[in-house]
């Protein structure tokens, strides 16, 4: 199981590298913000632990905080990225000017 997970980990790492090869400078900040939202996926970890194994008050408090944090990360992250990207909305008009893909 762990080895299959390790294989998956290595492949995902390569994908991360390969996808971010050439990115225009203006997209650096939105891209950082978008990937930031994606790691909010830890929320799932909070859900699983709270929903299956957690017991005791302290555990539950910690996990509710973790879930709150994770949700903030996800919700806030995607929304703020979208707002940042607002500045690219005007681009399509001058699409013809760009080279063919």
């Amino acid at each position: 199981m762990f080895l299959a997970n390790l294989a998956i980990l290595v492949l995902a790492g390569f994908i991360g590298f390969a996808v971010i090869s050439k990115v225009p400078n203006t997209l650096h900040t939105p891209l950082m913000s978008g990937t930031n939202a994606i790691h909010g996926i830890v929320l799932l970890g909070g859900l699983i632990v709270l929903g299956t194994t957690a017991s005791g008050v302290l555990d539950k408090i910690l996990l509710v905080i973790a879930i709150t944090f994770g949700t903030i990360n996800v919700v806030g992250g995607f929304l703020v990225t979208d707002r940042m990207l607002g500045m690219f909305k005007k681009k399509p008009e001058q699409k013809g000017a760009s080279t063919d893909e």
Partner: protein
């Protein structure tokens, strides 16, 4: 059931990857972001399908709280405050990782009877998560100007101190790993990691914060992947690792774009401090001052004016005033363009954000490579609070810290007007020969008020 969950996870991470690919191109970025968000929705739903899930009320409580905090903070933050908001969001992500690792430790009674990879990945996640949480808070504080932006360090003891903190955190982890089941150890680990996070980011200058945030972002991604390995959860592994890897690359790209190296940044200094620059031949050169009225006349009778905005325009919040002045010039038949250097300001895209906010037409914003050929045809280059990004030393002085950085070739314009408050240097803390160029005149003062005065003069012409 668990098959369905795994299948949905595969769909979810495929959406993440596809969305991320979209985020790398301006035309597909907005859609890419929403595709990734959809992936997140799928992943969450899949998780909620886990059989025999309990504590539903608490789950709902946590999600509701997070949503209630997340939506308004993302909605209401000002465009220019977004980097620190990203730092906060990143920090809470790291905090979640650390808390989950802590609970894991408690639930599993010090990992008794677990295969070796569980403590290793879980404690790794705990250290990095805690570091990322506290480091991000400092980055937030600095950018939000709650904390001083200048580097704060304990001097030459900084490096040994940080190293000691790291060693202490790892020592706790090792003790737990060999079987000591003590709450104190995990708390100690989290505290040492927290101190390390604080001590690493405090000595870094405010201007380097975008790079630091990107680095912490990559760290949180890695810690999420480690959590995934510990919990045996494919979605966490894939999503976390992708963020970890792409975040590292992105950090590197950002540092390169501003001609900085990541080790140099993490080691502190430079960003924000004035380094003793080899000012070279500058010395008995003279500076020509101009008045708003003269500047207005010069521009009014130009064919083409190129505005070169920089960090000073952001500080002065002069973007609306600039737009107004440009309209006045255009109504007189002057062609106005904006030269956008990729790292003008203090975050990538800083100038685009500001000028877009002031509704400057997109077609007038020109990227560096586009506009550099045009300066020789330009009558007036109006430099508004930009400094380093126009510094010809990048081309001419191999000893300069910015040597090799691509710059805007402002010095090729027929005449140059520079708006700034003093002869002070910019981010890199170095002299700028451009200001002593015989073609250059300086209009001293806050950028916003200078531009407004120029606009008044234009109307009066």
């Amino acid at each position: 059931m668990s098959n369905v969950i795994t299948l949905l996870y595969i769909i979810a991470f495929a959406l993440f990857i596809y969305g991320l690919m979209g985020l790398t191109g301006p035309r597909t970025a907005v859609r890419g972001n929403w595709i990734a968000a959809t992936g997140m929705g799928v992943a969450i739903i899949a998780t909620l399908l886990t059989p025999h899930l309990s504590n539903w009320l608490l789950i709902i409580l946590g999600v509701a709280l997070g949503t209630l905090v997340g939506i308004p903070s993302a909605r209401q933050v000002k465009m220019t405050a977004m980097p620190q908001m990203v730092a906060l969001f990143n920090g809470v992500g790291g905090g979640a990782v650390a808390l989950i690792a802590w609970v894991e430790f408690r639930d599993l009674h010090g990992y008794a009877g677990q295969p070796a990879y569980v403590p290793v990945t879980s404690l790794f996640a705990a250290i990095i998560g805690s570091l990322s949480f506290w480091g991000s808070l400092v980055a937030y504080g600095k950018l939000q100007e709650i904390l001083p932006g200048r580097p704060i360090s304990v001097g030459k003891y900084q490096q040994p101190l940080n190293f000691g903190l790291l060693a202490a955190a790892v020592a706790c982890a090792v003790a737990i790993g060999v079987g000591v089941d003590s709450q104190l150890l995990i708390i100690g680990l989290l505290v040492f990691a927290a101190a390390l996070g604080l001590m690493t980011v405090f000595p870094i200058g405010g201007a380097d914060m975008p790079v630091v945030i990107s680095l912490l972002n990559a760290c949180t991604g890695l810690s999420a992947a480690a959590t995934g390995l510990a919990l045996n959860n494919t979605a966490l592994i894939v999503a976390g690792m992708i963020v970890g890897a792409s975040g590292s690359i992105l950090t590197n790209l950002m540092a390169k774009a501003m001609n900085r190296s990541i080790p140099a940044i993490v080691a502190g200094g430079f960003g924000g401090v004035t380094v003793a620059a080899d000012s070279g031949s500058v010395g008995d050169k003279t500076v020509r001052q101009t008045s708003a009225a003269d500047a207005a006349i010069q521009m009014a009778y130009a064919n083409q004016v190129v505005v070169v905005p920089g960090y000073g325009m952001a500080v002065a919040q002069a973007q609306h005033a600039v737009r107004e002045m440009a309209s006045l010039l255009e109504s007189r038949g002057v062609e106005v363009k904006y030269a956008i250097h990729p790292v003008a300001g203090r975050m990538p895209g800083h100038m685009n954000v500001l000028l877009a906010e002031a509704d400057v037409p997109y077609e007038q914003l020109r990227e560096m490579d586009d506009i550099n050929g045009e300066f020789s045809r330009t009558d007036v280059a109006l430099v508004i609070g930009a400094n380093d990004v126009t510094n010809p030393a990048a081309h001419t002085n191999p000893g300069s810290p910015i040597y090799g950085m691509p710059i805007l070739n402002v010095d090729q314009a027929r005449s140059i007007i520079v708006l700034k408050r003093s002869m002070n240097s910019g981010f890199a803390g170095i002299e700028n020969e451009l200001f002593y160029d015989p073609k250059t005149t300086m209009l001293f003062g806050d950028a916003k008020s200078s531009v407004n005065t120029v606009s008044e003069e234009l109307k009066a012409l």
